[in-house]
Amino acid sequence: MDELRKSYHLDLDHARTELALLAARVVEIIPRATAVLLDGDLEGADLLIRGDAEIDAHSVEVEEHCVQILARQAPVASDLRVVLALLKMIAEIERSADLAANICKASRRIYGHDLDPKLRGIIARMGEQAGAIFAAAIEAFQENDAAKAAALDDMDAYLDALQKQFVAAIFESQAAGRIDLQVAVQLAMVARFYERIGDHGVNMGERVLYIVTGKVPDHSKPKRMKIEIGDNLEAVPVVGEAEDS
């Protein structure tokens, strides 16, 4: 059978590609934000914070593209689900970029304060995990891979556990007098920023599932894995220790 409405479908594919490129920028800036934080790189922080405006502008462009498709092509079925998912995912990506910029802002505030190796190790691990979640979300989107999208929740459970571990380490470090209270507060916020990036990645995965299966995310059920790992900090290897063994 011949495909009809080819230019419309190409346009839809183009909007998908634009979203993937937008998400790719976030995948790229997460490790850069982590490096800025760990290296106290003020110049890098400034660059990333200013770059956020570009991502915001790009987000608006993708959104406008989706509005044009809705207005002119009246998409239905999987096409409709793609456009609706794109509109939701734009917001997740844009917010995640803001959070990466927030990490850079926090790194300015704690500039000049040394962090002990344990804290540095967990920060590195949180950055890696948040980036991995985001990268997996966008791969699932590009490949319409429901299994990969479904795995994001468990990846996020690991990030949540790291965050809890990090908060415990902050208390420890602050109690031992190695960091100020102000620094401790900033670091706790940084942990929260990574954790939120992970959540946005999970939300993107839910939208991929919506595209593939048509099922709307159900937030009424508790997330089993999160509770299991989240309450059992021992289950998560401490960064550094795991590498030594």
Binding site: M1, D2, E3, L4, R5, Y8, H9, A74, P75, V76, A77, S78, D79, L80, R81, G214
Partner: protein, 271 residues
């Protein structure tokens, strides 16, 4: 939810078909159609040309009888009565189950006489009674205000959209239960189309409507349920037959269709 509670939310069936196949000579136009049309709903039949949707529509008021080579197999029940039972009077069937065609086809008579024609045939003679029927029918067809001052003018002098509404008025004048509409808007401009669509929504509380449309957005806009038909080609004989692929709530068909063939058709990935 109990079965009773579930049943309470569903309107009763007006039509129920079982394994319906329609032949024109030895050509099988459509096969294995099993579906139920619910009361006071608008059901849309969609699908590519030659999929059997108009053929199926014509089964519901035995219009296929008028084609000498046509033959219907299986059961078409109207309120539990087999429409094709020899005891059933086809003229009475068509009075209860009216039809509106693709091309507006008013009689070459006055607007008044077009609407009064059916009631007169069925024995209404009193002028004031006929006047009432004409006014009520034209009002139901949302045409009264436009023609009330020229009821004696020819129906053929109306615009295309008005002619189609006149045909709807003519169809409802005999007080049918069902209106079958075979692409009623395909010759109309968007405004006339919107008028007919509004009209369908306004009268669906009184009638059960089945519409065949080539305009998928129209099906999405007006219908409660959609039946998607397509053609299957027998690889051995190379003959085409229409089949019912999917029948579901309109919202489901246009957001998450259950069959890949429906998905391909509504998104325009198949033609």
């Amino acid at each position: 939810m109990s079965a009773d509670a579930a049943g309470a939310t569903q309107p009763p069936y007006v039509f129920s078909t079982t394994d319906v196949a329609v032949y024109y000579g030895d050509f099988r136009a459509v096969r294995d159609v099993n579906l139920q049309i619910r009361q006071h709903e608008i059901t849309a039949f969609i699908g590519p040309s030659g999929c059997g949707k108009s053929t199926m529509l014509r089964c519901f008021n035995r219009m296929n009888d008028l084609i000498p080579s046509a033959r219907v197999e299986g059961a078409v029940e109207y309120h539990g009565v087999n429409l094709y039972d020899p005891q059933v009077n086809a003229v009475e069937v068509r009075r209860r189950i009216g039809m509106v065609f693709q091309k507006a086809n008013p009689f070459p008579k006055s607007i008044y006489d077009n609407v009064a024609y059916g009631p007169k045939l069925s024995g209404v003679k009193k002028k004031d009674e006929l006047d009432d029927i004409v006014e009520r029918s034209l009002k139901r067809a949302a045409l009264w205000d436009e023609v009330k001052d020229r009821l004696k003018s020819s129906g053929l002098g109306l615009s295309g959209g008005q002619q189609q509404r006149l045909c709807i008025a003519r169809a409802v004048a005999v007080d049918p239960e069902v209106l079958l509409m075979d692409e009623p808007c395909s010759a109309l401009d968007p405004i006339a189309t919107a008028r007919i669509e509004d009209l369908m929504q306004e009268i669906k509380d009184e009638y059960t409507i089945v519409i065949v449309t080539h305009n998928m957005q129209q099906a999405a806009r007006v219908s409660d349920r959609v039946a998607f038909f397509t053609t299957e080609v027998n690889t051995e004989s190379d003959r085409r037959t229409g089949v019912l692929v999917e029948y579901d709530l309109t919202g489901k068909i246009f957001s998450t269709p259950g069959d890949d063939r429906t998905e391909a058709y509504v998104t325009g990935r198949f033609g």
